[in-house]
Symmetry: C2
Subunit: 615 residues, 2 copies
Amino acid sequence: MAWARKILRVNLTKGTCESEPLNMEWAQKYLGQRGLGTKYLVEETDPKVDPLAPENKMIMATGPLTGTAASTAGRYSVITKGALTGAIACSNAGGFFGNELKNAGFDMIIFEGKSPKPVYLLLEDDNARLLDAAAFWGKSVWDTEEGIKAKHQDPQLRVASIGVAGETGCKYAAIVNDMHRAAGRSGVGAVMGSKNLKAVAVRGTQGVKIDNVEAFMAAVNAGKAVLAGNAVTGEGLPAYGTQVLMNVINETGALPTRNHRDVQFEGAAKISAEAMVEPRRSDGKPNLVRNAACFGCTIACGRISTIDRTHYTVADRPQYHGASGGLEYEAAWALGAATGVSDLDALTFANFICNEQGMDPISLGATIGAAMELFDMGVITSKETGGVALTFGNTQAFTTIVELTARGEGFGADIALGSKRMCEKYGHGELSMSVKGQEFPAYDSRGIQGMGLTYATSNRGACHLRSYTVASEILGVPEKTDPLSSDGKAGLVMAFQDATAVVDSVGLCVFTTFAWSLDDIAPQIDAACEGDWSVENLLKAGERIWTLERQYNLAAGFTGKDDTLPKRLLKDAAKTGPAKGKVNRLDVMLPEYYQLRGWTPNGVPTNETLSRIQL
Amino acid sequence: MAWARKILRVNLTKGTCESEPLNMEWAQKYLGQRGLGTKYLVEETDPKVDPLAPENKMIMATGPLTGTAASTAGRYSVITKGALTGAIACSNAGGFFGNELKNAGFDMIIFEGKSPKPVYLLLEDDNARLLDAAAFWGKSVWDTEEGIKAKHQDPQLRVASIGVAGETGCKYAAIVNDMHRAAGRSGVGAVMGSKNLKAVAVRGTQGVKIDNVEAFMAAVNAGKAVLAGNAVTGEGLPAYGTQVLMNVINETGALPTRNHRDVQFEGAAKISAEAMVEPRRSDGKPNLVRNAACFGCTIACGRISTIDRTHYTVADRPQYHGASGGLEYEAAWALGAATGVSDLDALTFANFICNEQGMDPISLGATIGAAMELFDMGVITSKETGGVALTFGNTQAFTTIVELTARGEGFGADIALGSKRMCEKYGHGELSMSVKGQEFPAYDSRGIQGMGLTYATSNRGACHLRSYTVASEILGVPEKTDPLSSDGKAGLVMAFQDATAVVDSVGLCVFTTFAWSLDDIAPQIDAACEGDWSVENLLKAGERIWTLERQYNLAAGFTGKDDTLPKRLLKDAAKTGPAKGKVNRLDVMLPEYYQLRGWTPNGVPTNETLSRIQL
């Protein structure tokens, strides 16, 4: 129970949709969502496949708790080989789409092949159809979602789609569901676009059965009480959203600024949570409209904002308008500090474009930041940018380039490559602030040492959501460690990685872990699912999932040498703040990490390790 | 399938919650919701019971299509003996509560007995608990719903509750779910209050299984196309809501005005759909904010309005604010034309009080209209009203009395009796514009003859939703008949009554029948449910349900003599408009109706009839 025990297999080449039983043996070993989706990808594809080839598959997967009454249980993940990275990709989204997919009676959808023409999948319970998407191709996420709902006259449909960025092959194109929640990173939207799959629209009424309702509700309600009583999940996130971090991380001296040249941004306060509630609009109101919760979430960290209609329009585009999701901290940082732009309206506008056309704002902002450094160096000039003076902090240049990128036009086509390819194109690969081709998020690893090891070893490329040691190093959760010290960080990172793999695989939001340990989560899983879901077994599953992803990457051609950071972080010391004089000590942490993992000094899991975790 | 096949039985006296299998033999004969709930009530209670006694039961029931992907399939009904009427009561509500109840895995909840103290039911899938409602007793519907969601930290909870009106025993107290959808008529909220049951909060993740998904989705989608293509359901209702009728019915000369003294209201245009979109508020915007759809509805007739905060406040109440549901046509008529009040803001304010404290606006407005007539006659004076000059059209007097009624204070306690008891108290029972104690809705039966027979024979007292012949007589659906002629109306009413009983029992909204006949509905039911659901079988079920309700009322003590109308409609001719000079010809229609039904001249079903319909 809890699992729907059923997979939908969609062959886009043949145009077929077929249902098959879920492999329950795998479900017991890999739970669901991230873990189970990866298992299917590993079993069914060649890790050396071109991410954009028809032979790559794209899996949309729920977890066993998705759609249940557990707090935050509305999530789903997209698992594929990442277009940005060439590594295993797993992008996790909130909103309401995941719940609907589970309610349609499926644990996952496996998309294979490539459609000869643009299509979308309409899934109404057991009734799956591929329909012509010609009318939606070239349209934004917003127009596509509204158009599909109107066409099928079903306001209850939940839609995940790509915008123009996914169609034109932006390497960090996102899949956006429920208008503004995104499976954002690693270019899963580019993979979807390469398959000529514009959207997935789902309506489900099949429900989610769980093993022991009474025990489950007791565990769920106990869990909710813990979330409500916690300062981060019960107060900070609901009141301020993730943007609560902007000033905190800036003061810590770990806010990467202007392509990581600096670690503190003089404009941080102007783009912070506090700024979002100041009156800014022509009607005297702030940009922030309200907060918003995903399905079943009792934290409600989401923000909805609006900006004046007349901001930042380009010639061929009518006045921009409407409210949408954001700003989140990561987006505000990448679009702002990383580019030196401190105009909150411009960042919100750019974030709306990301929602509307389906792009990862982290990679977008970071790549623009890198281009600005190259412009500053004279490597890129107005000739390449089409006359745009792409200097750090130039608001108008920034918004113009964002729009061009969404459409894949002009210099936007270079930005759409991501920082690694773009910097290499201009002969300066070292200026791409990325790992395995994926741009860093909003924590400078000179000021938060554990995040350096997190980034270097993350299986999907630089990522804060694979082991958010910021919780320990800055917020003191579950216990405070020194952000400037590398001591003990290998163990901390490994523990966070394995626990997070469980959370991502079971169908919960990683933000619960500010308050929950596996001691809070295990009783919920154990009551909902058959099997023995003790904390010990869950941790073993987490390690198994992590190592399976590692194996995929090794088979794809990555080696231990890819577990590294750009020289800037390893050699150029932070110039200001508490981390002044510090570089990241990956050299110390990485060998210790390999040893703890039971991997060889080259970063390869030993047979003994694989055997121990039943891989 | 389609049915959850399970009942929750809540004994409030004992404080127990127990699950039991649904009687599937009855389900095959009475479908669900209205029909099946009535069957359980008939089998389990004495029809002579005092509606407010613990021995009366209150049943919240879904239909087999509730929670499916069918358009409008979010409804539920409350079945009990009506506090206002002493007759069978079945009040049907939209919103999202019905879908949630079905998803919790129950077709219905049967509440029996009376709790020794205020409680609410928390139902989380199979986990049902009665909890102390002391903190919510005395609170409004809005505060109760928000309070319960906050207490249990579940934004996905759906809540149906009573306000202060239901607690203080207002005879037409409603049960309000989702903040502004109501099981509105016959005083079902007073029954709930008499049981010390403040609220029912439900969260369900069990889904709804249907027999043949492919056939079902084909039927559902064909049905949606019919709704979209129809002028009423595809254009009129979405664009203007039910208020589209105000000017139409006024021009027809069938808009009951000032307690049915007149049939046309000089202020109709001021309180119409057109007025709702005119700028009125201090910010230059109209009252109407947007339209709104219930669960799964593709019509979206609902309206959301807001009024300026400073309107119509009383001394001990802070400024009124917020947006809420309305105005609907019936509410605008009853609060407006029936009282002679043509101030749209005042009507919207009064309607908000109905949403907030749980009252039926039809009975409220009509009872105030009757009191105004008595005030006009000098029977009721300022002494009784506490100094309020309760003259027709007095806006301030009207809003004051509405607030007093919600709280059961002062002259409001008299208005809370309903027009029959109130008029009888003052020696003028003939001025109650009601049948079986329930006030008329917004169609004067002198101008629309079929509605007179509809009202007189309606099993729950005067009601437009038991056979809405307005569709035929005014809108020409399915075919036009002459509203001023009584010819053929007996057959028309019977056909509408039986078909509507099917729609109400299966889980759909009666508004679909502007576009759908049973030919559109039968394939949806047949694909979803086991059994043979041909149109013929459905019509037989409809007749069976109608007659079962009749049998309940006869056993409760009603006779054919109660199938009548107030003298005003039978003797006093309409003074203006197309119906000028007309009275209602119930004398002609009723005998024909009895004969068509296979009832004796006294209105009692013959044994032959009962046998034919398997009763």
